[in-house]
Symmetry: D2
Subunit: 271 residues, 4 copies
């Protein structure tokens, strides 16, 4: 199966390598062409434009870094979707859940939506890239599902941050709180992974806070369209906005903890 691959960022590169190692023929394109060479060393062919990739390959996967840009490129008037369908091609959106490590290990979760037949044909590639793929119906549902998941995640990160802050100021050990949480009914990989770095105020951006806040905003907008009231998500969103106003937007989204912690000495006022 000949597969085109557009976008060789952290995720795209890992995924393309995975496909090559499982015997797929892969033709790649990237805005910065130099990134293609590493893939060529793994056996990939290179093309200089997306159009050339699409022309050559029956299936083309696009893995672009900025989801909103990607959506815009795809769904806008004169976008990829229209172009493809105009020429009798099919489109499948397939946002993934998971970051660099799961991408390398083929352990992503794939949220596919669009042309059902195309989904079924491409399953062999999805089987290599992810531990599980879902078919969610019409185009748009993949993005929506991802927004819902990220909204829950963002609210959880706030709840977690508030809990750490409350523990700390109440004289409890934050490390012990992490240990207790990890043994209970709400134990989850995010708390386990982010907790220790948050206690060190270390926020290397796996998922930048400004992107998390954007997803909260978009999820709330989706709720607005459908008249769904989500006060907890709204409060979490405002906390992420506060974090942005504190200059934390480019750090990991767990840096919202710093906004929760902000205390005495940060404001100035006179009697």
């Amino acid at each position: 199966m000949e597969i085109g691959f557009l976008g060789l960022g952290i995720m795209g590169k890992a995924m393309a390598v995975n496909l090559l190692r499982h015997g797929f023929k892969v033709t790649v394109w990237n805005r910065t062409l130099s990134k293609c060479e590493e893939l060529a060393a793994e056996g990939a062919s290179i093309e200089e434009t997306p159009a050339a990739v699409i022309k050559k390959c029956k299936y083309t996967i696009a893995m672009l870094s900025d989801p909103s840009a990607a959506l815009s490129v795809v769904f806008d008037k004169d976008g990829v979707l229209e172009a493809i369908e105009h020429k009798g091609g099919y489109f499948l959106e397939a946002p993934v859940s998971g970051s660099k490590k799961p991408a390398e290990d083929g352990q992503l979760v794939i949220l596919a939506a669009g042309k059902k037949e195309l989904y079924e044909e491409i399953i062999p590639a999805f089987d290599v890239l992810g531990k599980k793929s879902f078919y969610l119906g019409q185009v748009g549902n993949g993005a929506k599902m991802k927004l819902v998941v990220n909204m829950i995640m963002g609210s959880m990160m706030n709840a977690f941050s508030e809990g750490l802050c409350l523990a700390d100021r109440s004289g409890l050990s934050c490390q012990t709180l992490l240990d207790v949480l990890d043994l209970g009914g709400i134990a989850n990989p995010m708390f386990k992974m982010k907790g220790p770095t948050m206690l060190q105020s270390s926020y290397s951006p796996a998922f930048p806070l400004k992107h998390q806040q954007k997803d909260m905003r978009l999820a709330l907008a989706l709720g607005d369209e459908n008249a769904v009231s989500m006060p907890v998500a709204a409060a979490a969103n405002e906390a992420f906005k506060k974090a942005r106003s504190l200059g934390l937007g480019d750090l990991d989204f767990s840096a919202v903890y710093e906004a929760v912690k902000v205390a005495e000495g940060s404001a100035s006022a006179t009697k």
Copy 2:
């Protein structure tokens, strides 16, 4: 080791049985004495008053159903704590995390605080009752730690409910959302266990909503004392209050989902 046991509710009974099966001598008391007989059949001795139990046993465990009542009994002037210490005894608070099943299986998480020496002596019993025990320092820290954990849990349950509601009204499958969540970085036992029953509007009370709301309120009060702002927890608390106002207080705390879902047809007004 001779251990006294006060309170044979769902949790206490399971724990006392566990101790008996691991070779401890156990003397029990319960407000409703008939409940003691089941334990007698497992080999327990029975006493008719807490005082008699305390007099007989070097160590006495109290497992009372209502945490605030228990705290009041223990900490109030003339309460158990004063009484014990007056007589040279020691007190250890030890709220547990976990419900019926973990209690039966000796898989509780024990949050002990108080007299360190007593904690160390009683470890053999804690090893039988729980998969892990923590020593948290001065009395009060056990209850505080539990409040912090339950506050995070309550906010997460709201985030989860809002996500399910958003998925549903946006045309996504709630079951698929559960499946996607279960494969990702925020997968946790609570979502896995409560999700399916919530989709059936079935709320058999493992942890009654009114108790969850009380813990949210107490956690917020703890934050108030320490000037910790927790807007997400506050929003979650208001949702639990709304659920109480809807008559859902005696159902499981996951019934907050019903409050999130309430929609058209529930209000009456005229132009």
Copy 3:
């Protein structure tokens, strides 16, 4: 001064009449032309298209019912603004604060922004239409100022509703609360006017709830752009969304009180 007038809804009609009565020559257009006849009886000329009005009059005022539609018409590519400036004309946005009665009485507050010279030339008309006009600088500032005001108003309406609900359920008289409020430091015309009708669950739409919610959303979006965290406005917005989900969107925005009040009997769930 010859003034064109586009849009003869509740507000536009009152304003155009006002101009006529103060000696201005007024040429009107309205989508439904029949509405123009009432104005003709007051001395107005009628034209059949906006273009004809603009061609005839040095100054044209547009008073369109739906602010977002109006903004879109004005600011979009190929919109009025582009058209006007292309022909050497000038544009002034001028949202007004006030409803039917102030419009009739020439007591509006006018939030003008755009070409400063045009603002100064049109002051004689503004003096007739409003008790006060402000010049706010570049186009867009008028709409922004109105959003800020409406956001404060929406949060206040929620605070008021919560207070009424709390009084009622705490055994206090809501009417007495209105009386007490009206004598204190937060007394304001909105509480005075809306309070009595809210107590009767009567919500004849002076400002429809769905429009208030839209303004809350747009104000929050403006805050998002500028990284301003507004948790109280966000909570108020979610309450308005809940009201929409309850089917109250077409009633007056004070109907959010019904969403705050929703209680027992509105949810269904099983143990």
Copy 4:
């Protein structure tokens, strides 16, 4: 009419003077006795204990600085209320709305509750002290009514602060926002009085922020008792808590504006 007066703080002194100037005989007591001398110069008698005042005067008014202390003194076991009623006396709670200036001018709003007959007898004094008095029924209703009013006030102050912050960061003039607000349907004395000082970050404490936050908390607790969900008040309360954590508790409650404004430079974190 002989009236006893306990407590000569800012409010009490102004009120006692008012009574003297309207021909009442007044006997005063204050914890710091020296404060009584100023009143003696106005014609008041002095007693050295509250008991002596109560013994001498048919009616005694207590105006104590800290409402919760006052409530505790009055309602607790062995408190004033019990003592009075035990001796056949009657109690009327009467929190007032208004600060120093209205107290001096006899323009307070009096929220009386308790023994109806006593209320009716004391009306001549209330007529001097306030512009209006309300009889609210059983003891407790006065305090509750005041909490409801202060809760609305606290939420409004937050809405106002968010609006000012949004205006500022969106490039609008905050002074113009004040002017626009003052001409519209939500114009109120609080915005008019506090707005200009807030823009100067000047917070001389007319009503300390920590007391406002306490009233928010107590109002939320009242809502908790009665299962009233108040998400906007809850969000406002968390903002006041944040302000406390920033060290603003002793400033005027309008200093919550500083907490809303806190931005870039206040948090520290590393990538």
